[in-house]
Each structure stands twice: as structure tokens, then as C-alpha cells.
């Protein structure tokens, strides 16, 4: 039987969740034995080259590209996992939700303390750039999500337990300590 194929992406996230994935330490060798990676920053494959079994996504959606990548994942993965606070709830980037987009952009490009050099008051508007959304959306508001792994970042052991259970078909056993944060 061929190995299950995994794809991952970071959308409006900080890559902390991916770092946590690497925190599984030497188990990463076992992971490589268990699964094959496709589109992912881990192996730097930029486009899907085949149908995948599991898609793991960190970060919510803050721009039009995030939406497109997310929809692409939904199309190409049988199972989609929201990894971490940002993917599940919007997280830190969603702090801007509730503040009008204009105010955010003005602060970022015109009024912020570090934009003194922008004398022509340029706002990035090239057609190549992703368009900013009115707010940051959690993944499940855009596509169907099958599983959620909470945490900021989720503990390495939690990611390991979940992925291992998925690919081996074992029952998922998550001790309370893995999802308890206070």
C-alpha cells in the first residue's frame, strides 16, 4: 500500500505552527516513513502534483490569495485540518477585525511611526498583489474543515498524536495536558 500523502500551508499565520510540527524531534524520521509530503514548505514543493490524503493548514485568511490556496487545498485533499488558533479563530491577525480596512491601511502605509519615507503616500496596489479582505476569516468559514487542532502553537505531541492516528487508523488518544493551556 502506498503511503498517505500530506500537504501543508501557512496562510495568515506566523509559521509558529509549522515550527511546532518540526518540534516532534526525532519522530520526524518516523513521520517520513509513515507519510509522503507533497505541496508544503517542509519540502518546498510549490504546487500540488497529485491528490493528497491530508491537508494541514496554519493561519486564517486575510487576503484573496489565502482564499485561493485554501480552496485549492480543499480540492486536492481528502481531509483538511485547521492547525492552531489563527486557522481556527483568526488568531492575532484577527485583532484588526472590527477596525475599518481603511484605518488599518492608513496606519500601515501612511500614519505609522515607521513609514516616514513614504513621502508620495503610496498604497501598494499592483495587480499582482493579493487583495486584502475586509476582515480575517477562520478557515471553516470558507471551506469545510474536518478536524481542528487547538493551540498557539498546538503542541508538537498533539500534532503527532493526531496525524499518527489519522494515518495508522488508530483511535486518537489525546491526554488532557495536550490541549490544556492555562
Amino acid at each position: 500500500m502506498s503511503k498517505p500523502i500530506v500537504a501543508t500551508a501557512s496562510l495568515a499565520g506566523c509559521f509558529g505552527c509549522h515550527m511546532s510540527l518540526l518540534d516532534i524531534d526525532e519522530r520526524i524520521l518516523k513521520l517520513i516513513e509513515l507519510v509522503e509530503f507533497n505541496k508544503s514548505p517542509i519540502d518546498d514543493i510549490k504546487t500540488f502534483t497529485k491528490q493528497c490524503d491530508i491537508g494541514i493548514i496554519e493561519g486564517g485568511c486575510c487576503n484573496s490569495e489565502n482564499i485561493e490556496v485554501l480552496k485549492l487545498f480543499r480540492k486536492n485533499c481528502k481531509i483538511l485540518i485547521s492547525l492552531g488558533e489563527c486557522a481556527i479563530m483568526g488568531g492575532l491577525p484577527a485583532m484588526r477585525n472590527g477596525i475599518p480596512v481603511k484605518e488599518c491601511l492608513d496606519e500601515a502605509y501612511l500614519n505609522g511611526p515607521t513609514v516616514g519615507e513614504n513621502k508620495e503616500h503610496i498604497m501598494p496596489n499592483d495587480d499582482e498583489l493579493p487583495m486584502i479582505l475586509d476582515k480575517v476569516y477562520p478557515l471553516h468559514e470558507i471551506v469545510k474543515i474536518d478536524y481542528y487542532l487547538p493551540g498557539c502553537a498546538p503542541r508538537a505531541d498533539l500534532i503527532w498524536a493526531a496525524v499518527a492516528a489519522l494515518v495508522t487508523g488508530d483511535t486518537l488518544n489525546i491526554p488532557y495536558e495536550l490541549v490544556k493551556f492555562d
Binding site: 480552496k71 496596489n125 499592483d126 487583495m131 476582515k135 476569516y137
Partner: protein
């Protein structure tokens, strides 16, 4: 300003326990509690600004910015909406040229929404500078705003007063009592002082026994046996307090307002009997700010009782010293929860306490405290006067005596009814002249939404328990939009925010019901709402979070077809709209959106 604030703080003996009163006085004097006022109050009281601010920001009627010279607080409760609030709101915005949440540029008028103000039988209603205006419509709004432009005092903007004490020179309010049915207990015959005289002639324990034997249960909603509560408190040692819960915040209830208006003497007498029974020297009436128009009258009743030696030192010559003061709230539904009410009375945020210890052990000022509802104290007066057997003979097995119902909504005769427990909903609907009824909301938003197939059920603690709010919902209403959505927004606003689940799930459930109403929810969302309701119920500290999902759970239970008609039977559906989502940012940066469609 400085002198005024300092003198206000001094008038309350520089006591930080009276912070609520201080803030209320400052708000009423200046139309706001400015940051400057906050630091003055803090330094005068010798507490930190944070301590002042945390109380200030908790309550709806304290504002940082100055409200209009005429501050209009429009009730947006469910019954107000049913009775035509939208028209009134529209006319107010048209006439003033500003939106709700704003003040006219000249500072003359500000428009605010507020939760149920206890006038459900005469909606739409609003408070203007603490004066109640009922049954508003477009014409009345036009007249009111033109009066404001002329600078008329609010009190002179109407000339017809309500019935009974509402017309008393100290009240002069347009509020009507709408007493449709008086019973033998709270709205029956009453002679001031008889019962108190009798009680003071009895041993305090005998008074408690009388109350216990009567089977009286608390009328505030939870239905705890009153005699038992008093007995627990009487067994505690040291200084004690009696408190009356007149917060009456459950949307759709207004019977305590009628008792406060027509039976103030009786209420204070009941509180005094409680003081005698448990051994307290002081009683506190916690009165919701919405009823401030009754303040002068209630204080005159207290003064009158003092002159008649029914309050004060050596009451009726029996060596009993006891007095009552009035404590105002400042707009927060959760302060009706007894431990939040205590916190608020101590000048703090109205956040419910962990229990135990219960108030009877550790209540106001950390002393044992009996808290009862207005109607409970009034009932005690008749029980002591007529005896427990007389009282117990009325009602049902579990629910003795009579109950005041506040009935509102789609019926011919909204108002207050004193009925014997055990009446069926069918009988009640016939009594109030309601036909074409879709549902009855029993016990307010935190109660249950009952369908016609269950109208044979009884109003009683053993079947349909209620603190008295009964909202009749006609067939013409959109139950989910007009009722459930309004209720959920109410709870979302009123959660004190202490418990994560109550703070977030009320918001999430509100969003979800909005999706159902908008037609973008799916079938599985219905079960999700049920599951989430279980979580918030199980993990919330107080009754608010434990019952706030009831509007959703009881309508899913009893009106599931309404949900199914509005949800799609698909595995997933997103209402995300890329064009809409990028419109603003593209406009700001000056580019044409290029949205790909797959």
C-alpha cells in the same frame, strides 16, 4: 466641576462602598463621568482610578462622553419591537438627523438603545432623562423633538398621568398600572402596619415557621423556599442584612414595578418583618435605575413609615431598630442575580460571585444576608397577617398562594394579573384575550418558548415555573427573527463576561441564529447550536449563562420545522463573498478588484 465632584463624594462620607451612588450623582450632574471626574473620585476616595473605572464601565447608564441635554434611551426589547419600535426609531433619527449611538452636533439630543425598561404592557417605551414615555409613535416623537428644540423641561412634555400612585405629585408619570386582575394576596386588601404589629408580637422563629409553613417560594424566578432561606440566615451569628431585589430586568416582566407603585408600604413592611425574623438592623432596596421616577415617592413612603414608628428606632414600641435605604443600579440585567446585586450594592462591578458561600452565609458587606424579590416580601405580609394555612390553601401542591403575572405581547389586555398557581396557558390566553397564538414565552428569554400543543400545561413550579414574564407571540410574528434573535442579542449584551463560555458562546449563538434567519445556515448547524448550548449551560457560573441558550434550545425542541425550513440540507455551505470582501481595500488603495471565478 472639581468642587461639585468633591462635594458629591463627601456627601457619601467618602465611602468607596457607595461608589454606585457617587457615579450616578456625577452622571446626572454632568451628563457623563469624564476621565477627569474619574481621577477626582479616585483620589477623594483613596482608591485607584482603575477601581473607579472598572465599576463605571460595567454599567450601561454611565458614559464617558456627555450625553445629550435630552438623553433618549429607547427600549429595544422584544415586545417593544413587536409593538412598532422600528417606526419610532426611524422617526427619532429623522427628526434629530443623527443615528442611534450619536448625539446631535449642538448637544441637544442623544439617542441610545437600552434593554427592557419594565413597560412591556405599554410599548414602545423610552426613558428621556429618567422620565418614562410610553406607547410612542411617529406623531409623539415629532412633538417631543420639537418640545426639546424649545428647551422645555422633560416633565412638561406630557400632561396626562397614569392611574393610582402614578398620578401622585411625587411621581407624576404617564405610566399605567394596567392591573387587570387583583387577587387576595399582593393586590388584595391591605392595611398598613397590621401585619408588622402582629409579627413583632411573635417570636422571630415563629415568624419564620409561619413563612415556612405557608409554602411560599421566592418570586424572583428560582423559587427557593423563602422560610428555609430565612431560617438559614437567622442561624448565622452577628450583623445581618435584608435586601430586596427590585432589579426586574427579565424582559417582559413589570409586576414589581406595579407593586413598587401601589404597594410600596407593603413591600417595606415585608422587608421589616424579614429584619425582625432574621435579626437584621438594615434593609436595602436594590432598585433598577429604570425605575428612578419612583425615587421621591418611595422615599416619602419610608419617611412616612418612620413618622408612624413603623421604621426607625424602637418600632411600635417593641424595642426593634430597623431602617431601609434605597440603592440604585445603573443598567445591567445580570445585577438581578443575587450575588451580582450584592457586588453592585458594594460599589463594584456587577459580577456574580462563586457560590458557596451563599448570601445567607456571606452576603452584603460579607455579612449574612437574605435577598428576596419584591413580590416575595409583599406575600409575606399577607401570610403573617392571615396565617400560613390561609395562604397554603391557594395554588397547587408545590406552589402555594398566588402569583403576579406580567402579560404582554399579542393580546387584547396586557397588564398585571394576580392568579392562583395552577392556571393553564389556555385559561391564561382566554383571560387576556389572545387569539391566533403561535407561542407563549414563559418566564422571559431565560424561560421556555411553548407551542400551542402544550397550552394545556399549568403555570406552577411543578410544571411551567415563572418569575412572572409571559409574552404572547401571535401567528403573524417571525418567531426566529422577531423573538429568538432579539433574545440572543440581549444575552450577548448582558453577559458580564467572567466566564469564557458565557462571554463567547452567547455571541457565537447569536451569530448562528442570524445565519439561520439570513438563510445561510445548514442542517448540521441546528445540532451544533444544541451541542454548544449544552456547553454554555454546564460551564457558566451563574443563571445567566445557564439559561441564555434557552431561546434556542426550546425553539429547536418545539419549533424545529421553522429551523428546517430556513436551513439547507447540505454538508457544507459558505456565505463568503469574495467580491464583497475585497471591495473596501481595493477602493482604499485605488485598484480594480480582479476576482477569479472557478
Amino acid at each position: 466641576m472639581r468642587e461639585k465632584v468633591i462635594s458629591i463624594v463627601q456627601s457619601y462620607g467618602k465611602n468607596s462602598g457607595r461608589l454606585m451612588d457617587i457615579l450616578l450623582s456625577v452622571q446626572s450632574e454632568f451628563g457623563c463621568v469624564s476621565e477627569e471626574a474619574v481621577s477626582l473620585i479616585a483620589s477623594e476616595l483613596g482608591i485607584s482610578e482603575v477601581d473607579v473605572n472598572q465599576t463605571k464601565t460595567f454599567y450601561h447608564f454611565f458614559t464617558t462622553n456627555r450625553v445629550g441635554k435630552y438623553a433618549i434611551y429607547m427600549n429595544n426589547s422584544v415586545v417593544s419591537e413587536m409593538m412598532g419600535m422600528a417606526e419610532v426609531v426611524d422617526e427619532l433619527e429623522k427628526q434629530t438627523g443623527v443615528k442611534f449611538g450619536q448625539t446631535t452636533p449642538d448637544g441637544l439630543v442623544s439617542l441610545h438603545f437600552t434593554a427592557c425598561i419594565g413597560m412591556s404592557d405599554q410599548e414602545p417605551a423610552a426613558l428621556i432623562n429618567s422620565v418614562v414615555f410610553t406607547q410612542l409613535n411617529r406623531d409623539k416623537v415629532r412633538k417631543l423633538i420639537s418640545d426639546m428644540r424649545e428647551g422645555k423641561p422633560v416633565e412638561s412634555m406630557f400632561s396626562e398621568y397614569g392611574d393610582g400612585v402614578n398620578a401622585n405629585p411625587l411621581v407624576k408619570s404617564m405610566v399605567k398600572n394596567n392591573i387587570r386582575k387583583a387577587g387576595p394576596v399582593t393586590l388584595g386588601e391591605y392595611a398598613v402596619g397590621t401585619s408588622l404589629g402582629k409579627a413583632l408580637g411573635m417570636d422571630p422563629n415563629a415568624v419564620i415557621d409561619e413563612v415556612k409553613n405557608s409554602g411560599l417560594r421566592g418570586r424572583g424566578g428560582a423559587g427557593f423556599p423563602t422560610g428555609l432561606k430565612w431560617m438559614f440566615c437567622s442561624k448565622e451569628a452577628g450583623e445581618k442584612y435584608v435586601m430586596c431585589n427590585a432589579d426586574e430586568g427579565e424582559p417582559g416582566t413589570f409586576k414589581d414595578r406595579v407593586l413598587l407603585t401601589e404597594r410600596a408600604n407593603m413591600l417595606f413592611e415585608g422587608m421589616t418583618i424579614a429584619g425582625w425574623a432574621i435579626g437584621a438592623k438594615e434593609g436595602v432596596l436594590y432598585l433598577r435605575f429604570e425605575y428612578k421616577y419612583l425615587k421621591a415617592y418611595l422615599e416619602s413612603v419610608l419617611a412616612d413609615m418612620r413618622t408612624k414608628n413603623l421604621l426607625g428606632n424602637n418600632i411600635l414600641g417593641k424595642g426593634f431598630n430597623y431602617d431601609i435605604r434605597i440603592q440604585f443600579g445603573a443598567g445591567a440585567y445580570v445585577c438581578g442575580e443575587e450575588s451580582a446585586l450584592i457586588e453592585s450594592s458594594e460599589g463594584k462591578r456587577g459580577e456574580p460571585r462563586n457560590r458557596p458561600p451563599f448570601p445567607v452565609q456571606k452576603g452584603y458587606n460579607a455579612k449574612p444576608t437574605v435577598i428576596n424579590n419584591v413580590e416575595t416580601f409583599c406575600s409575606v405580609v399577607k401570610i403573617v397577617e392571615q396565617g400560613s394555612a390561609w395562604y397554603k390553601a391557594m395554588g397547587t401542591e408545590e406552589s402555594a398562594g398566588t402569583k403576579l403575572l406580567s402579560i404582554s405581547g399579542d393580546c387584547e389586555k396586557p397588564g398585571v394579573y394576580e392568579i392562583a398557581w395552577g392556571m393553564t396557558l389556555n385559561e391564561m390566553l382566554a383571560m387576556v384575550g389572545a387569539t391566533d397564538v403561535q407561542a407563549v414565552q414563559v418566564a422571559g428569554p431565560s424561560g421556555s418558548c411553548i407551542p400551542p400543543s402544550q397550552f394545556g400545561r399549568k403555570i406552577a413550579i411543578e410544571d411551567l415555573a415563572t418569575g412572572g414574564s409571559m409574552i404572547v407571540i401571535g401567528k403573524k410574528r417571525d418567531l426566529l427573527k422577531d423573538v429568538v434573535m432579539n433574545f440572543m442579542r440581549f444575552f450577548e449584551d448582558e453577559s458580564c463576561g467572567s466566564c469564557v463560555t458565557c462571554r463567547s458562546f452567547n455571541m457565537i449563538l447569536t451569530k448562528q441564529i442570524e445565519k439561520v434567519v439570513a438563510g445561510t445556515a445548514i442542517r448540521t448547524d441546528i445540532d451544533n447550536m444544541k451541542a454548544w448550548s449544552q456547553i454554555i449551560r454546564k460551564t457558566s457560573r451563574c443563571g445567566l449563562g445557564q439559561t441564555s441558550s434557552n431561546p434556542i434550545t426550546t425553539t429547536i425542541e418545539n419549533f424545529r420545522e421553522l429551523y428546517e425550513a430556513r436551513t439547507k440540507d447540505v454538508a457544507y455551505q459558505s456565505d463568503f463573498d469574495m467580491n464583497k470582501a475585497v471591495a473596501d481595500s481595493c477602493k482604499v488603495v485605488g485598484r480594480v478588484p480582479n476576482v477569479h471565478h472557478e
